[in-house]
């Protein structure tokens, strides 16, 4: 290492040390020693209401965030103290973890019993003081996060009593984002409060409007009822605008649900599209390949749970290749064992694979029982997030991404790999391909393996949004066929468009017709569509197709 390098490194280390010193210094400024804070807290219990007001003032002056829950508990009237020792405590009723605990350290105070405790008394004027105190501690806190969450809580409660404090917080606020939330809270209070002037109310309407969403709609609707006549039109037009926005978001939400359903259909159908499109084989056991993929996930998770629980978040990463390989191999076995004897007899293939699906279902039922198995979501697949007015769950989100990845990967495989080239050659002219030296039996086996492997991947994905049972695949097989038939055979883009169209159409019909009737309508529409275009949306056209 050169001298210059060493110098830079030293500077870096120095800078990091300085930074860490600063970081630790900040909490030290706001946080009291446990003992000091405990003294201040204990001062809440004795004496008159006046003394308590003083004690509250001292706690506010301490600026220690740990005082906030104590004050909140007191406001709720759930703060207790030990009659003999005079110590202020939390009970299980007041949010402490154990039965009775120290409000500052959170430690269990097991030597005390509930019989020893007495409530710390509050009256109305003290409650007002408490509210202001909590507001000051949080709205005026030095920690930006505390201020933000305090501002949001004021926005939620919209208590006119907070107005004064809110005004001072707004003038003191430097963070634009927090200031906006505070101003929104102020506007909501203005609209709510009967005392606010017409000017204030008028000015508040656009601010509330900017909040958007259902909350703003509710606030404005409530405000409309008690609003003076002169500002009614303003509020009404704001409500109209919001309702329009809401309707637009509802549409977007439906589109999202549709895309989500479509991606599931895509995953289930794409393997089918390959085996049907390339080989002309109707695989009625395709749904069972999906089911086997889901059970692979279940088995992988069980093994991880028993041997390496720490790897749980990685369970899907392990299950994906495992499911692909397992179902792919099962697929190759089916092709070599049964389907290859039935080429050119699509109806027989349909029947044989149906029989196979019964056997596989029954076998899985014998091994895993017919009970529903729950497959866990890794932490990163759980929960949801909001995007504008959309609520999106992570598992659905990742499945949409995953479906598209699988689709793109498959397109690339078909386009750029040797096996893909051979598959396309066989699709277009089996006899010619075989006379050019392509080993069509190998291609058939590989194609079927690939289609089944993708079904296995679909199974991993489906295990994340539903329960796993031996008849999991049956629920998807008819829908998958509809996608392939609708999209047209021999064209992956048709499958994509078909899956998304059916998914979205389903979700748009559902609210009007209900889930079951919606499904019936979709089926009938597809049946009618096939009358118009017997070979689907993206059909190959040519002289010899009907031959």
């Amino acid at each position: 290492m050169t001298g210059a390098g060493m110098t830079i490194l030293k500077h870096l280390i120095g800078a990091m040390l300085l930074l860490s010193a600063l970081l630790t210094a900040i909490p030290a400024h706001a946080q009291f020693a446990d003992a000091d804070l405990t003294t201040l807290v204990d001062a809440l219990a004795p004496g008159s209401f006046k003394d308590r007001e003083t004690a509250i003032g001292n706690l506010v002056a301490s600026g220690d965030p740990r005082a906030v829950p104590v004050l909140e508990t007191l406001l709720e009237g759930e703060l207790y103290f030990d009659e003999t020792g005079g110590k202020v405590v939390f009970t299980s009723a007041s949010g402490g973890k154990g039965a009775i605990s120290d409000p500052v350290t959170g430690a269990d105070l097991s030597d005390l019993t509930e019989a020893d405790l007495e409530k710390v008394k509050v009256n109305n004027s003290l409650r007002r003081v408490l509210r202001t105190a909590i507001g000051q501690m949080t709205l005026l806190s030095e920690d930006a996060r505390v201020r933000l969450s305090a501002a949001q809580s004021v926005l939620r409660d919209a208590d006119p009593a907070q107005l004064e404090l809110l005004d001072s917080a707004i003038s003191a606020e430097t963070d634009v984002r927090i200031k906006r939330v505070m101003e929104q809270a102020r506007a909501v209070i203005m609209l709510k409060s009967p005392e606010a002037s017409v000017e204030d109310k008028t000015a508040a309407v656009p601010v509330v409007l900017a909040i958007g969403g259902r909350d703003a709609l509710n606030t404005l609707t409530t405000a409309l009822a008690s609003a003076p006549d002169e500002i009614r039109p303003t509020i009404e037009s704001a409500i109209d605008g919001l309702a329009r926005d809401r309707a637009a978001w509802d549409v977007a939400q439906n589109v999202w649900f549709g895309v989500s359903l479509g991606s599931v259909l895509l995953l289930a159908a794409i393997g089918l599209a390959i085996t049907f499109g390339v080989m002309g084989v109707i695989n009625m056991a395709h749904g069972e390949m999906v089911m086997l993929g889901a059970y692979t996930t279940f088995v992988v998770q069980e093994i991880i749970r028993q041997n390496a629980p720490g790897l749980f978040d990685w369970s899907l990463a392990i299950a994906l290749p495992a499911a692909f390989l397992f179902t792919g191999l099962v697929g190759v076995a089916i092709e070599r064992g049964i389907i290859r004897f039935l080429y050119g007899r699509p109806l027989e293939t349909l029947l044989a694979t149906w029989g196979l699906s019964l056997i596989i279902q029954q076998a899985v039922q014998r091994i895993f029982t017919a009970n529903i198995r729950e497959v866990g979501n890794p932490s990163w697949m759980s929960g949801s997030f909001e995007l504008g007015g959309l609520a999106i769950t992570w598992n659905r989100f990742y499945i949409v991404i995953f479906a598209l990845l699988v689709f793109v990967a498959l397109l690339l495989v078909l386009k750029y790999t040797a096996i893909g080239l051979h598959m396309r050659a066989v699709t277009q002219n089996r006899r010619m391909a075989s006379s050019m030296g392509i080993r069509t039996p190998l291609v058939d086996a590989m194609t079927f393996g690939l289609g089944s492997g993708i079904a296995g991947l679909a199974g991993v994905a489906l295990s994340q949004i539903g329960n796993v049972s031996p008849n999991l695949g049956q629920g998807y097989i008819i829908d998958s066929f509809m996608v392939v038939v609708f999209g047209g055979v021999g064209n992956l883009w048709g499958t994509l468009v078909g899956a998304l169209t059916l998914g979205i159409a389903n979700k748009f019909i559902e609210p009007y017709a209900g889930a079951v009737l919606g499904k019936i309508i979709i089926l009938v529409l597809i049946i009618l569509f096939i009358q118009r275009r017997p070979r689907g949306l993206f059909a190959l056209k040519g002289r010899s197709i009907e031959a």
Partner: protein, 252 residues
């Protein structure tokens, strides 16, 4: 060429017909005329559009553009296969297509010109006239001895003859015959040529064939197709002397 001629009095009239499959022009501005009781032989390289032309005439493929008239007045592009067949256009396929799980007799009986309606077919019983007619046709195509055999058990050449017999039974005004002598022995080829010439005395016949000696045997007008359009027309000698035909089809 075609505009100079009269539509009326033609058996088959194709004018400016084009069809494309996914951008590929299988037939490109094709114009052909066949007169009553005339034979036309069509030659041309693979992919010249010969079979597609037959598909268009028989209603299997709809042209993107152009006029297809039968008997000078019936627009064939508006009709489906069955309607066209019932107008009196019979077709023999390149690959012999007979009903293999039926007997030779039943094959002819089904083709026999009779009402094609569901109930007419359900309650049909062959009368003496029909039996005589079927027997006569089977004699013509030399399959009477095998009338009770399943068509699947015929030889390739016999299947070709059976299909020609089915054509005769349909009693069409216009016959479209696609490679009738493929897989036949020389003697059979000569017989077939004789049969077709016989048929052409009373009906119009369009024959698509690769076998030049067979075309010579027919001694009819010849049209050479290439890339979906007419390359040359005339007698076989004229056409095969045409330098473009030599270049594109017959080879140097």
């Amino acid at each position: 060429m075609s505009e100079a001629r009269e539509k009326l009095g033609t058996m088959l009239y194709l004018d400016g017909v084009s069809v494309a499959f996914d951008g590929f022009k299988a037939i490109n501005n094709l114009s052909i005329i066949v007169h009553p009781a005339e034979m036309l032989a069509i030659i041309g390289p693979n992919g010249a559009g010969k079979t597609t032309m037959m598909d268009i005439i028989t209603g299997k493929t709809r042209p993107d553009d152009g006029q297809v008239l039968f008997d000078g007045r019936t627009d064939l592009t508006k009709l489906d296969e069955a309607a066209i067949a019932n107008l009196g256009i019979g077709r023999k396929f390149q690959k012999p297509t007979v009903f293999e799980s039926h007997t030779v007799w039943d094959n002819i009986e089904m083709a026999l010109k009779k009402p094609r309606g569901i109930f007419a077919t359900l309650f049909y019983t062959a009368d003496d006239e029909d039996i005589a007619r079927i027997t006569e046709i089977l004699e013509t195509v030399r399959l009477l001895a095998r009338k009770d055999d399943y068509a699947a058990n015929l030889s390739h050449g016999q299947k070709q003859w059976l299909e020609i017999g089915m054509l005769l039974a349909q009693d069409p005004k216009l016959l479209l015959v696609d490679e009738p002598v493929a897989g036949m022995t020389d003697a059979e080829t000569v017989e077939t040529a004789k049969l077709l010439k016989d048929i052409a005395k009373t009906r119009s016949v369009v024959v698509v064939e690769h076998d030049m000696s067979f075309v010579r045997e027919l001694g009819s007008r010849v049209t050479c197709l290439a890339e979906g359009a007419v390359l040359a027309e005339g007698s076989l000698d004229q056409v095969s002397a045409n330098p473009v035909v030599i270049e594109r089809y017959l080879g140097r």
